[in-house]
Symmetry: C2
Amino acid sequence: MDPFRFAIQARSGRARVGLLTTPHGRVETPLFMPVGTQGSVKGLLPKDLKAIGSQVLLANTYHLLLRPGPERVRALGGLHRFAGWDGPWLTDSGGFQVMSLGHLRRIDEEGVVFQSHLDGSLIRLTPERSIAIQEALGADFIMAFDECPPYPSSPEYLKASLERTLRWLERSLKAKTRPDQALFGIAQGGTDAGLRALSTRETLRFDLPGYAIGGLAVGETKEEMFPMVALSTEILPEAKPRYLMGVGHPEDLVAAMGLGVDLFDSVYPTRTGRFGSALVPEGRINLKNAQYLEDKRPLEEGCDCYACQTFSRAYIAHLVRAGEMLGGILLSLHNLRFLHRLTERAREAIRQGSYGAFAREFAERRFGKEVPLWFREAMAAGGHW
Amino acid sequence: MDPFRFAIQARSGRARVGLLTTPHGRVETPLFMPVGTQGSVKGLLPKDLKAIGSQVLLANTYHLLLRPGPERVRALGGLHRFAGWDGPWLTDSGGFQVMSLGHLRRIDEEGVVFQSHLDGSLIRLTPERSIAIQEALGADFIMAFDECPPYPSSPEYLKASLERTLRWLERSLKAKTRPDQALFGIAQGGTDAGLRALSTRETLRFDLPGYAIGGLAVGETKEEMFPMVALSTEILPEAKPRYLMGVGHPEDLVAAMGLGVDLFDSVYPTRTGRFGSALVPEGRINLKNAQYLEDKRPLEEGCDCYACQTFSRAYIAHLVRAGEMLGGILLSLHNLRFLHRLTERAREAIRQGSYGAFAREFAERRFGKEVPLWFREAMAAGGHW
């Protein structure tokens, strides 16, 4: 039997609850995947991630290629054993980080050449090499090698790029050898509806265990982004998991889950935590503000995370000011738990057929009386409001 | 009944196992106290400290005076509630940090004036102020305000300083108002046996719930230091706990426990952990060394800490190289557990009357065939070898 299965268990409008089976256990969708760039979710122990409800971790192929190197990870038992997380992993293809972190890159039909941001050495990454690296890392979910074009890009560039990404997908699939890894294709097309639809439909010509919506949340407005998400989930098959890459703002999750997205990842909750901010239903609070120095309340009333159950905002504000690493750790823990609780409550609402009410309650606390148009339109497109 | 009691439960030579009762629970001695300088043991959650056997935490009065300020800590429920550790706390007097971190200090009979290392503001610390701050912080154990003279100091300076410290002890005691805090006096005298004995005897004229051996591990050799420890524990009363301040190297703990010391603190295990080193029976290993990059063994075979139970040296070496904070966190956790296991095993050996055998086994792994003279002499003075 295929080690990867996806079963939709409940629907509310276009939102759905799914059960995703992997070689390292079953997970419930929609879900948010914490990012462990270098094989570690910064500052957090795997046991604490498990305790807050993390189900799948993401690691970055680009970073692990540079250090410690894929062969070393393979020799040390693959990501699961190496990094002490025995649940499922997902690795990206490396393409996105090459664009954003690598230097002196050159893109051609063969692949990309980049200079390591660590030691300046020249490294070539191709679909074949990306897959070989991801096979060595051993994640459950691996991604086809793609180009994520910068925003904005011209329609001509977007089209040429997405066509190359499709050829790279074909090569990625041919290069793949491990049956215990599921390869997802990535649709591109920027914020051009025609190209987005083209890229999505062409990607669907490959029968894959899941599909990613790529190239969004890279600088465009939410008014530009969400119609692309709505369009994508209309085209994507119901029976396969859909992964909206790099999205982690709570309001984006609520809008995208309403449109039928199943998987998310972003460094946002941990990065904003290390920078001193906590996610709360109203948005986020910056613990560097003096007002929190004597605030006895937890980061978020009613949150069940260790940070909220144990400490006051005042203590965490002190840690942040004092430069104590525990501040960023507690904020990261809370922020991840915040997103996990959000998806847990979304799943519950979907099971009860009341995703619209859930999203309305969320929006009232998040936006107050002025719910932005993009959010309302996403809700309408999802069949909720 | 006095909320502080100390009962000796077992002896082996001069080593002893004690049960120390505090308003926040009972603890077993000998014990090592992790240092939470600013109210946080760097990078570690209180629940993880509890899990590795930490019993008492130490916080630094100097740091908490500067930030967030004692009145704020008091208003937030004192250290126990503020910092989420409901076991016992100990605060130092602030004197040592003023000497080592403050700028433009002036010492006179009244106290010290120093410039904050944070904002340059001028701050006066006196015995009365130190006690008032420590009462606001609310630790179970508080320390008399003392001067820790630099090493080396002339006998004349040491004598004048220790006499002033005795007058400051008297003022500290007079200033103390809370019945739920135990004030320890600190004997000084540097490495001059006559002055050390004088300071210790004069400190004993005050009937206190415990006594500290101060002014050691500040630059002198172990050959100079341990005769002072031996002399001190000969003079100090059997029935009161003895605290050797600032000592945290495993071999120093074994030698000092053998001489009848009960309490220890040091930033060493956590600081050396953040710098990439792990304590092991043979000494310590630096995970930055290339040899660990493919080492599948845990930091220490047989260690029951989360780091050793979950990760290889190779993974932690990767984290250290990659600058991931999880590296320092895991090493801090292991190093503290290493010291806690050391005191746990010491207590067990003392209960069985076999501290000498325990210390010999420790020394054989730590030093090999050449056990240094200072260690052997400490063992002889403790009645073990």
